[in-house]
């Protein structure tokens, strides 16, 4: 019982990270109808940027954890946003009217480029980091198993909730959010009504990238080790989360993220750790075949 509760806590924590990444996927898919294959690698870049920022701040003597983290968050989010913007401008915008496969292949190319760019410039080895937020507390104990809620886990949950709250406010209450939703509904119509669709799409990418960077920072703090390949696996899982929750639906992305996180953790705990990725990938295949519009999504009708 206690063991299960611990897995629940771990799963939700992991799920929050996936949820942050999944929101980026679902936003981009909603607005321009394509999977941003490079999004997972933006997450990875966010993690690296966070690492560099923390190391840099430490070497400058700024070691107070809250300040360092806040500065790092801003730094990583801002630069990752720049990456997201650049990727869209270079690899996707020129191909918007092109034949079906072109933006997909370009996205894959971008993903490969980002992964290998980091590999070449930062080295292929894993990058470890000391835990910044130690401690936590024991919630309960039963059957000789102590359920712990670590400080890191609390921080992840709080950060994610705050960020998502800001983001939801942004999408539902601001004019920008309205523009984004209009573009998501009908891009051509929105443009005919005078909305700068190019700009809105860019902003979508930027916000998605920033969220992914936050996820990257949290991932770095939680697991303490990153490498240039984490974007690949996390990307597929986060995309699975977006599909599971209903592609195009923002609450769906978060819900999907939590589900995937829980499934991954429970599978590792009760079945086998080696096949945990297989479990996540299989869910993707199963979800797309049997539940293509996801849990909270709308059925997509093809316009002929």
């Amino acid at each position: 019982m206690a063991y299960a509760l611990q897995q629940l806590i771990n799963g939700i924590t992991l799920g929050m990270i996936y949820g942050l990444i999944a929101v980026g996927y679902t936003m981009v898919y909603g607005i321009i109808g394509m999977i941003n294959f490079a999004h997972g690698d933006i997450f990875m870049i966010g993690a690296f940027l966070s690492l560099i920022s923390l190391l840099g701040l430490a070497s400058l003597g700024i070691t107070a954890v809250p300040i360092a983290l806040a500065l790092t968050l801003l730094f990583a989010a801002a630069l990752a946003a720049l990456y997201g913007w650049t990727v869209e401008r270079i690899a996707y915008r020129p191909l918007r009217g092109s034949f079906r496969l072109a933006p997909l292949i370009s996205a894959i190319g971008m993903s490969i480029t980002l992964q290998n760019f980091v590999q070449v410039s930062q080295g292929a080895r894993v990058k470890p980091m000391d835990a910044l937020i130690p401690g936590g507390f024991q919630i309960m104990e039963s059957d000789g198993f102590a359920v712990r809620l670590s400080g890191m886990q609390i921080m992840i949950s709080i950060t994610t909730i705050i960020i998502l709250a800001i983001f939801t406010w942004l999408v539902t209450q601001t004019p920008l959010g309205r523009r984004m939703r209009a573009c998501e509904q009908d891009l051509r119509m929105a443009s005919l009504l005078g909305i700068d669709t190019d700009r809105t799409i860019s902003i979508t990418f930027v916000i998605g990238a920033a969220l992914a960077a936050v996820a990257g920072l949290l991932f770095l703090l939680y697991y303490g080790v990153i490498d240039f390949f984490i974007g690949f696996i996390a990307g597929v899982k986060a995309f699975t989360a977006a599909v599971l929750g209903g592609i195009g639906s923002l609450p769906g992305a978060v819900l999907g993220g939590l589900l995937i996180g829980l499934i991954e953790v429970f599978w590792s705990a009760y079945f086998s750790v080696e096949y945990k990725d297989v479990a996540a990938f299989s869910i993707l295949i199963v979800a797309l075949i049997f539940l293509p519009s996801g849990i909270l999504g709308r059925a997509e009708v093809e316009k002929v």
Partner: protein
């Protein structure tokens, strides 16, 4: 021979088509008209298998007596078994392939059968070669009929707009349909091309093929249709001969201000 019964199509909360019933008789040119958003293309898509109707039935009966419940058949079967062909509102040619290839692709099924599911084709056996020649001949005849024989080896995407429209019709005809459905075939055509279109459609009718068309150009509709169905806001508001429909007050009300300039004496 095509009977649509109580057809209803819902998208989420919106009823695009609401309890529409009509019949298209064999050998007729039946036109479906109505203001924009009336649900015409939705009806079309239901008939040709691109949407599954929420309610109602669509049945097609061939002269041979063969019966096809179109609302329950997968799209490609409607074309291959039911022999219902269609063209699209936004032309969907195989732009990167040549004009000739477009027509050959349409004959895919008979050619596939003759090719022994490709094995005979790969090995270059005689039966397949004969079938290919036959296919080319049919393509050539259609190219001649629509006046594109000299452009057979050009890319379909490079043709002018009017030619592309004619090619799409010819391609649809290459599946030997009993019913040809046309989605706004006259859109974007100048008067001379529209005249040529009328002749082409009439000659297709003369061959024994029935036609079902959506059209906004009243000149075309009134000139060639035998039977008109009028939709508005998803419901059928009129059904009859061109003369009857033209005089129908409900139709005039729905079209208030539209179409008067286009109407010509039949």
């Amino acid at each position: 021979m095509l009977s649509v019964t109580a057809l209803t199509m819902r998208f989420g909360g919106l009823k695009a088509v609401d309890d529409v019933s009509f019949e298209a008789r064999a050998g007729d040119i039946t036109a479906v008209i109505g203001p924009n958003g009336a649900g015409k293309t939705t009806v079309f898509n239901c008939i040709t298998g691109f949407y599954r109707p929420s309610e109602g039935g669509i049945a097609l009966t061939h002269a041979s007596g063969a019966h096809f419940p179109l609302d329950r058949m997968p799209g490609y079967r409607i074309a291959s078994r039911g022999k219902v062909a269609r063209t699209f509102q936004n032309i969907r040619l195989f732009a990167g392939m040549t004009v000739l290839e477009n027509l050959l692709v349409a004959q895919h099924n008979p050619l596939m059968r003759a090719s022994g599911f490709t094995l005979a084709a790969v090995l270059g056996l005689g039966t397949f070669r004969a079938a290919e020649r036959h296919g080319m001949e049919k393509a050539r005849q259609w190219l001649d009929r629509i006046g594109l024989l000299d452009r057979a080896n050009d890319l379909a995407g490079a043709l002018p707009y009017g030619a592309q429209r004619r090619l799409e019709i010819a391609r649809a005809m290459c599946i030997d349909p009993v019913l040809l459905c046309l989605d706004e075939p006259a859109a974007g055509l100048n008067p001379r091309e529209t005249e040529a279109l009328n002749e082409l459609l009439k000659s297709i009718q003369g061959d024994g093929c029935s036609l079902l068309l959506i059209e906004h150009d009243m000149g075309v509709v009134m000139r060639i249709s035998d039977h008109i169905v009028v939709l508005d806001h998803g419901k059928k508001i009129a059904d009859g001969t061109p003369a009857e429909v033209r005089a129908d007050p409900a139709v005039i009300a729905a079209y208030l201000g539209e179409g008067d300039e286009d109407e010509e004496a039949a």
